[in-house]
Each structure stands twice: as structure tokens, then as C-alpha cells.
């Protein structure tokens, strides 16, 4: 299935994304969906790859921050094109597990967390995605109300690490045995060993690894 996203197609998509051509991007995504592309491949090889590259282009001062934000917003919209397929493909399981996925407080980057919530859905879970910048007190209330089997926390910027640490401590005080998955770009340079010291907490480096773990369990 990965063959569907050729270098040529990827470059076309990226050019349209940077140019703000939602219609063209949507056409490419819909065409891939019509060819039954694997959802995870679509997310990683098209959406994730292009957003990482958009970020690099901003870093190199080749594009403005407004163009970067436009590309992110467009990608969030394009994710929804996959939803009919996502729910159509959703695994039917006897036991419905529930996951709550959220960005920690002060964390404004939410696309990664959204993709994670979608992958859970695809694999038969009921997922609640709470979005960006969720105050920990409200997260605690949501966990209390929904009693999830698993909590996913997303952190994109390393300087929010103290917020993550504080959140995990508060969650752990109230929900001693709740399993927590943590992921995000914040850990691309390290800090994973810190997470591994926390009980019932696991670092998830990628959507592929998430899929492997969920399919094994």
C-alpha cells in the first residue's frame, strides 16, 4: 500500500499544501482513499511526513509561520476525509476498550494526538480526543467520568515537560493503576528514560509502534 504514495505524488501534495490548495490536497487524499490506502500509511507517509517537512521549511526560513499554520490547519481538515473509511474499517471487538487522548496543559500542537486517537478507533477502541491545552483538573474530571482503560498524553514541545510531569503525578494520585501512553515530538532529542521511571507509563515513539502494541494485546 505504501507504493500508492510515490515521491512524485508526495511532492505534488506538499506543493499544494504550501500553496493553500485545499481542493487539490483533498483530491489527492480522496484518490488514495478510493484506492483503499491503509489509514496508518496515509497518516504517516503523507500527513506526518509533510507536516514535519513544513516545520523544517519554517526552521530554514523558507516559509512564514502563517504558512506553517495554514498547512497544519489544512491537514487537520484533511484528516476528516479518512473518517468514513476509518469507521468503516474499524475492528469489531467483543470487548470495547476506551481511551482518552489529550495534549497536556499549555501544549498547543494537537495534530499528532488526533492521529493517535484515530488509530485507536481504527483498532476497535472508543477514543475520546480532548484536543490541545487541556487543564489537568479538567482532564482528571473527564477520567473520573469516563473511566478509560488507557490514557494517552501528547507532548510536542520539550519546555512543557514540567507540565507533563506535574500532570502525571496528579493523575497517578487519583488513578493509581491507570495505564498511560506518552508520545510526541518533544522526545526526539531524549528524555525518554525519565518517563520510563514512572509506574504504569509507557513511551510510544510512533503510530506504527502504537499499532503493534495494540494488536499484540
Amino acid at each position: 500500500m505504501t507504493d500508492l504514495i510515490t515521491e512524485n505524488l508526495y511532492n505534488q501534495y506538499l506543493a499544494f499544501l504550501l500553496d493553500g490548495r485545499r481542493d487539490k490536497c483533498a483530491g489527492i487524499v480522496q484518490n488514495l482513499l478510493n484506492q483503499s490506502i491503509d489509514i496508518k500509511v496515509l497518516y504517516t507517509d503523507l500527513f506526518q511526513r509533510s507536516l514535519y517537512q513544513v516545520g523544517e521549511l519554517w526552521e530554514l526560513n523558507r516559509i512564514s509561520v502563517s504558512r506553517e499554520h495554514m498547512a497544519t490547519a489544512m491537514t487537520e481538515g484533511l484528516l476528516s476525509l479518512a473518517y468514513p473509511r476509518l469507521f468503516d474499517k474499524k475492528k469489531v471487538t467483543d470487548q470495547k476498550n476506551r481511551v482518552v487522548v489529550s495534549c497536556v496543559a499549555r501544549e498547543t500542537h494537537q495534530v499528532g494526538g488526533k492521529m493517535v486517537a484515530d488509530i485507536f478507533e481504527l483498532l476497535g477502541w472508543d477514543s475520546h480526543f480532548l484536543g490541545a491545552n487541556t487543564p489537568v483538573d479538567h482532564l482528571l474530571v473527564h477520567i473520573q467520568e469516563e473511566t478509560p482503560d488507557l490514557l494517552g498524553l501528547s507532548l510536542s514541545i520539550y519546555f512543557n515537560f514540567p507540565v507533563l510531569k506535574d500532570s502525571v503525578e496528579k493523575i497517578r494520585n487519583s488513578f493509581t493503576n491507570l495505564d498511560i501512553f506518552i508520545g510526541g515530538q518533544a522526545f526526539r532529542y531524549g528524555g525518554i528514560d525519565e518517563i520510563s521511571k514512572w509506574p504504569h507509563v509507557q513511551y510510544i515513539p510512533s503510530l506504527s509502534r502504537l499499532e503493534e502494541i495494540l494488536e499484540t494485546d
Partner: protein, 188 residues
Amino acid sequence: MNPKASKENLEKLNIEQHEVNSSWNFTLRKGIMKTYLLETAGALQQPQASAVLAFSRKKDQLAAQGNQSMAERADLEKLIGKNNQQMAEDNNRNFARFMESVFTSYHPEVLVETVLWVFRTYRAHGFHATYWAANLNVWVEMLKKELQEDDYNSLYPFYNWLIIHIPICVKLTDQVPGKGSSDARHPD
């Protein structure tokens, strides 16, 4: 460029051997410099808890105060480039939060890689190496004034490490051998 590239391939690509050597030496030098940064950063000690707490409480106020000091400089544009004041102020607020993260749970590789990312990215946007020297000196002066002496002494080695390694960070974030944008080659 692979330093063992064959003569035939180089001819095809119209690349001279000395360019390969230059590129290879550049890569090698960068590798050595980065190892040095990681080793020296590895020698820094996690600050004492009271210093981290004091810093956490004052960081936002200090970032605002530092931004004010920098904004009053007549040479600000020379330090940060044109139309970059908002970006510089955001960077300074983020820097305070990043240092809090570093002090909370210290990982040398995170410090080194993030600092290099900052140099690479902000230099690409027009910031000069002199900006970091100026801004870090402002931070050191503020911390000295605002913190207890033992708390200051616990945090200072991190700022000193950043200040003394600015030239290496500049070299490491130069893009092309001989065509780098280090400020030494572009004095104001």
C-alpha cells in the same frame, strides 16, 4: 558526500577531490565539536531543588524583565535582524520554560540538541550569534540579583556553559564549508 567516493563518480558529478576532503573534514570537525559539547554538558550537575523552585516561581517575571532590557538596547536590530522583536521575545519566554525543563530533569543530549536547533533556526531567521551572548548575560545578571546566592550558584554553571560554547554552536550550525554564515565572517 561520501569521503570514499570513487574518482569516476566524482568526475561524473563534476566534483573535485579537494571539495570532498573539505566536506569530509568539515563533517569530521563537526562530529568532534558535538562530542565535545555532549561531554562538557554531561559534566553539569542537576541543580538543587530550592534553586529549581525559585527559578520556576520567577521565570516568567524574569523573561519579561529580560525582554524589557533587550528592547531598550539601541543595537537590538543588529543582534536579531529586522522585524524580529516579537520572535526574540517569544524565544526568550520559551527559553525560560526550556531551562525550567532542563533543571527539572536534566538530560545533556536534550540540552545540546535543542540549543543547536535554536541556533540553526534563529540564525536562519536573521539572528546573530551576538544576540545569545547579550541575552545570556542579561539572564545571568537577573538571576544573580533575584536568587539566593546558593541557588544562583547551582544554576549559573548552565548559563556559563551556554555562554562559553556559543562559538562552537555557531560553527556547528554553519551550513556549508567555506560558505558558512558565522558572524566572524560577517562582522557588523
